[in-house]
């Protein structure tokens, strides 16, 4: 392994392992996804030909193109995930604001 690989591969593997352990201890499902991403990253750095082989399997040709396509899909998926989360939080915030408003009505000045 070269210096870059010596530094990055153990770091990525450690992150993958951490995410996997967190998930096994009852963490959120997204942990599995993160563990797989870090593991794939470690694999690609350790063995660059792996990406080339995957590109060949997918009939894409070059490893660099395969990474580009994979990144595009990744960005689309994460954008969709975050938009969904944003919608959930928006609704929760509105419900909270509504509950507070209804629980504290302000009567007309003439009724005081």
């Amino acid at each position: 392994m070269n210096t870059f690989q010596t530094i990055v591969v153990p770091f990525a593997l450690a992150l993958s392992l951490t995410e996997a352990i967190r998930w096994l201890r009852g963490g959120r499902r997204i942990g599995v996804f993160k563990a797989i991403v870090w593991l794939g990253f470690a694999g690609a750095v350790y063995e660059p030909d792996l990406v080339q082989q995957l590109a060949g399997l997918a009939n894409i040709g070059r490893g660099a193109d395969f990474l580009l396509y994979a990144m595009t899909v990744f960005v689309l998926l994460t954008t969709s995930y975050f938009l969904n989360q944003l919608e959930i939080h928006r609704r929760q915030l509105t419900l909270l604001v509504r509950e507070l408003a209804i629980s504290r009505p302000q009567l007309p000045d003439s009724n005081k």
Binding site: L83, R90, V97, L100, A101, I102, R104
Partner: protein, 228 residues
């Protein structure tokens, strides 16, 4: 008309309307309806002006949009035993005298909801581009919901309590008007359009919806369909 004024709740969403909300609430006073103003996180004295004019005020601590504010007012009105709920704009564009006629229409037709139509009634001093936009919205709504309406985004509506319980506005901002029409279509509610008068003036045009916001509404509807 057989409706008792105390069973009618007028719901007004207001954001930074301290100069107009008092006048709007006072214009409704002679009818003795219940008036609830939802101060949607205003930075000015909207809440105080509405209270002074005789309205119950619910205050959103932060701005959540007109759709969210209307749903807050509707929930509150239902909790207080409303039989009929009317949504009314804060800026004085609507005429209180239209409300009894809409309620009468709701009762005599045994409908679920009455929608105000400024194109059946009168849209005084409406800018040409706004009129064109409203017509485009009519075509779009007919295409997406099948509803044959003449005015799709009028804030003056009257509905029964049962209808209000069935409709849940999830769109916090301006897209709520389109969402409401989709609810009417999907729940197969009986709707009636009623001619109303809407007065446009410089102040309301400056603060109100801009034509470009139509794109924002379309985007919101798309996002809510895809991600919720």
């Amino acid at each position: 008309m057989s409706v008792h004024a105390k069973n009618v709740w007028i719901v007004i969403a207001a954001f930074n309307e301290e100069t107009r909300i008092g006048k709007t609430v006072l214009s409704l006073a002679s009818y003795e309806w219940n008036v609830v103003v939802i101060d949607d996180g205003s930075n000015d004295q909207t809440a105080g002006a509405a209270r002074q004019a005789g309205a119950v005020v619910l205050r959103h601590l932060i701005n959540r949009g007109q759709g969210a504010a209307l749903q807050t007012g509707i929930d509150f009105s239902l909790e207080r035993g409303a039989t009929y709920i009317v949504t009314f704009d804060a800026d004085g564009q609507h005429q209180p005298s239209d409300v009894p006629l809409m309620l009468e229409s709701l009762i005599t037709s045994r409908g679920d909801i009455v929608l105000g139509s400024r194109l059946l009634g009168a849209a005084i001093d409406i800018p040409t581009h706004r009129r064109l936009l409203l017509k485009a919205a009519v075509v779009f709504t007919r295409w997406t919901t099948g509803l044959r309406l003449t005015d799709t985004h009028n804030g003056l509506r009257a509905m029964t309590a049962n209808t209000a319980r069935r409709i849940e506005i999830k769109e916090d901002r301006m897209a709520h008007a389109s969402e409401l029409l989709h609810c009417i279509s999907s729940l197969r509610l009986k709707y009636i359009e009623h001619p109303v008068t809407v007065h446009y003036h410089r102040e309301t045009l400056a603060k109100g919806q801009r034509s470009m916001e139509a794109w924002g509404v379309l985007t919101r509807l798309l996002i809510s369909r895809l991600f919720t």
